[in-house]
């Protein structure tokens, strides 16, 4: 067994520490912020598996959260709450498996816009189904307490972080990295690219399905345009790019940064928040493609070089 590297221990400890500290304040506000933060961490970590490791950048990851939320409300009352959330995760994973084969044949920028289109397509399909059923938003009453949801989401964030760390360690991770660097060369040296991509895609859909279900439980409300809001996909990508998507540190850092920013701005200046988001995205793509995690590495290596001389 290889010893855990800082890039593995730091994000795990960070998530655990935040999870332990926030309830100390004893207010629902902090639990709410923590809930959102962990939700984003789980989403961005999941996204990292297919988009960071394999390089297939998904701009439609909200679709999995939307499906998870929708399955939860559809099964509401019929099965226990947590079973509904797990079913949501499974449904999202299944959806990824079903669409994955044709979708993952599409590469590069075409994959990016395809995933976006797919999520919008799913959104409008659900909107139309709900309209046809005469439902205009569904209320969920009597869901779990904030504190329960908080711990469930913290577990999801930890699971997502562990999933990225584990994937990077095993053969799957090495294969996905090869796919990202050069897919043709990867399959030529024996990487089962189709299977690996499909597996990564499904894996990256599971947790978002669960998170989507928890989002619905938290708001107590399901409305398709909100559950499948493309801004969620956009935020995931921005967080990953700001934090970095090379390993499990980036998603934690990126989510932390944007959640704090949004707490400061979103309520009073939603547009300003979005503008800053856009500017950050551009800035990081142009000047720091490996995100904050990459900047930290660079800082440390130049610092180390200076110390050595």
């Amino acid at each position: 067994m290889r010893l855990p590297a800082p890039r593995e221990t730091v994000p795990l400890l960070l998530v655990a520490a935040i999870a332990a500290i926030l309830p100390v304040f004893g207010s629902d506000y902090y639990l709410g912020v923590g809930f959102a933060l962990f939700g984003w961490i789980a989403l961005v970590q999941s996204w990292t598996i297919v988009s960071g490791l394999a390089g297939y950048i998904s701009l439609g990851h909200v679709v999995f959260a939307g499906i998870g939320g929708y399955v939860l409300v559809l099964t509401w009352g019929a099965v226990p709450v947590w079973a509904g959330a797990v079913l949501g995760a499974l449904a999202a994973g299944l959806f990824a498996l079903l669409v994955g084969l044709p979708v993952l044949r599409v590469r590069g920028p075409y994959f990016v816009i395809l995933t976006f289109g797919l999520a919008e397509f799913a959104k409008y399909v659900v909107i139309n189904i709900e309209n046809a059923l005469g439902k205009f938003g569904r209320l969920i009453l009597g869901g779990p307490q904030v504190e329960t949801l908080y711990w469930a989401m913290a577990a999801a964030a930890l699971a997502g972080t562990l999933a990225v760390i584990a994937t990077r360690r095993v053969r799957l991770g090495a294969g996905l990295a090869a796919v990202r660097e050069d897919e043709l060369a990867a399959e030529t040296i024996g990487v089962p690219t189709v299977r690996f991509k499909l597996f990564a895609f499904a894996l990256s859909a599971l947790l978002p399905g669960f998170v989507g279900a928890l989002f619905v439980l938290r708001t107590g409300y399901f409305e398709p345009a909100q559950a499948f809001d493309p801004v969620i996909s956009f935020t995931i990508v921005t967080m990953a790019i700001i934090g970095g998507s090379e390993d499990a540190r980036g998603p934690v850092l990126g989510a932390l940064f944007l959640v704090v920013l949004s707490e400061l701005l979103w309520a009073s200046f939603p547009q300003v928040y979005m503008i800053i988001l856009g500017a950050l995205l551009i800035g990081f793509v142009l000047f720091a493609p490996n995100g904050v995690a990459g900047l930290l590495d660079r800082l440390r290596s130049t610092g180390g070089a200076r110390a050595a001389t």
């Binding site: 090495a174 990295a177 399959e187 030529t188 040296i189 024996g190 990487v191």
Partner: protein, 238 residues
């Protein structure tokens, strides 16, 4: 060991390969010659499964390779390098080799005894092992192509112009390396090379392609004297 049986390939009406047949004996170094556009790289791509042939089939011993996905062909023990190098640029040289070791052939033959350090040593890449592959010189990237392919533990190694663009000294190194791959590791080698001298010196057997067809085959000295080759290939080069 490898049987190429009446292979044909056309791209939207353009015939790239036509009715190519030959057998590569186990343990040999088998040269493929031909002018630019003769179909050499296309031939390698159909063997390695990157392209599906329009006709015919390729067999490795009794196993039909044609129709298998590339990773299964790699699993069966066939490795290829790319004429236009395709290293995993963002990964270090060591990681490139490690990825080959982690995937590749199911029954690791030949180079199986070598670990990453051994392969890096053999290909002379040890000093740059921790650099990102994208930062290497072309000569180093060509050697990395060989290193990564060797790491897959192949029984048959397809080398596509690994000497193009190298200095004479580097060519000599590469020749020595290919010989050692065959003799020390027992890997059968097929090699495409523009550097005529190198190809003739290395190969036990040579096939000459012209416009997708075989125009000559045999021991290098016979092929060099073949009039068809002289007009079609050497003649045009002058």
């Amino acid at each position: 060991m490898l049987t190429v049986d009446r292979i044909g390939k056309s791209f939207g009406g353009v015939r790239a390969l036509h009715d190519i047949s030959f057998t590569v004996p186990e343990g040999s170094i088998y040269g493929i010659m031909g002018a630019n556009g003769a179909g050499k790289t296309t031939l390698f791509a159909t063997i390695a499964g990157n392209l599906a042939p329009s006709a015919g089939e390729v067999r490795l011993r009794d196993l039909r390779l044609t129709g298998l996905p590339p990773h299964r062909i790699a699993g069966a023990g066939v490795a290829r390098t790319f004429q236009i190098v395709r290293p995993f640029r963002g990964l270090s040289v060591r990681e490139n080799v490690a990825t080959g070791l982690r995937f590749g052939a199911r029954n690791r033959a030949g180079a199986a005894a070598l670990d990453a350090a051994g392969i890096l040593g053999l290909t002379g890449l040890a000093p740059v092992a921790d650099r990102p592959a994208g930062a290497l010189t072309l000569a180093q990237q060509k050697r990395l192509e060989v290193a990564r392919a060797l790491a897959t533990g192949p029984q048959l190694l397809l080398l596509d112009e690994v000497m193009a663009g190298l200095t004479p000294a580097e060519v000599q190194q590469m020749i020595a390396m290919v010989r050692s791959i065959r003799s020390d590791m027992g890997v059968t080698v097929m090699i495409i090379e523009h550097v005529m001298g190198a190809l003739m010196a290395l190969s036990d057997h040579v096939v000459v392609l012209d416009h997708g067809e075989t125009i000559a085959a045999g021991p290098p000295e016979d092929v060099a004297d073949d009039p068809a080759v002289q007009t079609a290939y050497l003649g045009r080069r002058r």
